[in-house]
């Protein structure tokens, strides 16, 4: 019987596992998934191997939810393999869709990344200063690790993805809605569309009231306790809800945490970080110039902007693989 059901796969590349947890968080509805699909590949949950996938005819998998960014040659190889074997390939979660958290590593060269991970991170104990190499000889023979790609890529940078499903991770309700839609056989949106999210900003779903006020200065979350019911951004917290796509029911601002932008940019045509920067800067009261000399005016505005100490980490938190400057050679290290 199972052979009649369309095959469903889920794969993790440079992933944290949170996307699989999000799928598991649909709870008993996973039985519904099983009723409609032959859920046959998911290294986190099932024991199918790569060779089993290789043995399938091309296009044998109906739907693959691909999560995680592409960091290694192995990630790239699996992306190509699953592209070949799948009718529908979905970039699932912000890592696959826009590079996500792993792509923040693109700020630095590979050496810096390895040294941070294996030598310099607080709490490490590596007295021999060992860094894993691409191959190493052990008594049982030669072991090899897949090499790093020069930079972290989103899925669509390497293979054609049919759809993206944003979120870090996508919300379980949205996953279920998408799976149900696909299972129902209803027509799918045009290729390239986003699934499981809203066409409007997070603000649209946010219970906090906008009072049409500009923030006197930007605040870091620990600097103040936000007032209830009032827009965090208007209070000065770096909430990216205005430039971020909705679909999460404003999960974070509803619990008094500023939105960090995990559902990705609302505007898909502009540079994601530049757009987030622009919308956040627009929330600040620029004051008025008369009576102030240029120096004190600038000093005041700089102080008001000090609440964003890490612009790149704030504005490109989930999207650095997508910056228009992605291919530009680095000339300065941050």
């Amino acid at each position: 019987m199972t052979a009649q059901k369309p095959k469903l796969a889920m794969y993790w590349a440079a992933s944290c596992g949170g996307c699989e947890i999000a799928l598991a968080n649909i709870h008993e509805a996973i039985l519904e998934v099983d009723a409609h699909f032959d859920f046959m590949f998911c290294p986190c949950l099932l024991d199918t191997k790569k060779k089993d996938i290789e043995a399938l005819p091309d296009g044998a998998i109906f739907l693959t939810l691909f999560n995680g960014a592409l960091r290694t040659e192995e990630n790239l190889e699996m992306a190509r393999l699953l592209r070949r074997k799948s009718q529908l390939l979905v970039a699932f979660g912000s890592c696959a869709a826009t590079g996500g958290i792993p792509s923040l590593a693109n700020q630095h060269g590979i050496e810096h990344v390895l040294e941070t991970a294996f030598l310099n991170a607080p709490g490490l104990d590596n007295p021999e200063r060992l860094i894993p190499g691409e191959s190493c000889t052990v008594p049982d023979g030669e072991l090899s690790l897949p090499p790093f790609l020069q930079r972290v890529l989103a899925l669509h940078d390497a293979v054609a993805a049919d759809y993206s499903m944003p979120g870090c991770p996508p919300e379980p309700e949205q996953i279920l809605a998408v799976v149900r839609h696909v299972a129902s056989g209803a027509p799918l949106p045009p290729t390239g569309s986003l699934l499981g999210c809203s066409a409007r900003a997070v603000c649209d779903e946010c219970p906090r009231e906008k009072r049409n006020r500009l923030a006197p200065r930007l605040l870091r979350p620990f600097e103040a306790v936000p007032a209830d019911d009032w827009c965090l951004l208007e209070q000065g917290f770096a909430c990216l809800g205005t430039s971020t796509r909705g679909g999460c029911q404003a999960l974070c601002p509803a619990t008094a945490m500023p939105c960090t932008g995990c559902y990705g940019p609302l505007d898909r045509d502009s540079d994601p970080g530049a757009t987030a920067l622009s919308t956040l800067a627009a929330a600040l009261d620029p004051g008025s110039a008369p009576g102030q000399d240029e120096g004190s005016l600038h000093a005041g505005l700089r102080a008001a902007l000090a609440g964003v100490p890490d612009p790149l980490g704030t504005f490109y938190r989930y999207t650095l693989a997508e910056t228009v400057l992605a291919d530009r050679a680095t000339e300065v290290e941050p």
Binding site: L76, R151, L280, S288, L301, T330
Partner: protein, 149 residues
Amino acid sequence: MSCQTTAQAAELPKVNESGAGEKNPKVVAFLCNWCSYAGADKAGASQLPVPQELSVIRVMCSGRLEPTLILEAIQKGADGVMVLACHPGDCHYKEGNLRAFCRAELLERMLPQLGVDPRRFSFDYVSAAEAEKFSRITTEFVERVRSLG
């Protein structure tokens, strides 16, 4: 960004390969229509030197300029980008230039994080009367960018 996609790593040109001083830098200057553009016009009419490396783009207000355009200019090969605004208090849309300053301040801090030397970017004020200032700061900026290679 640190590098290129693997597939294209071999073919992609390195931005700085041609070395300092050998090529003429390309500088894109976004000028506010009401002050800086008029200042540039006056510099031309007064026959003050204006660097030929400058490509001027007129915008209705410095506050109109999306930071995406600045990054795209750099990505498409500009060696430097200037944003020239009305002086504080003189913006025709009241605080467009102060908003532009806020974006410029955040962008300037973000550029090195993106691997771009922040000296390739400049935000300044030029009034309609300041032909001499326009001539001076554009010449200095082009020289600064030239020295970066």
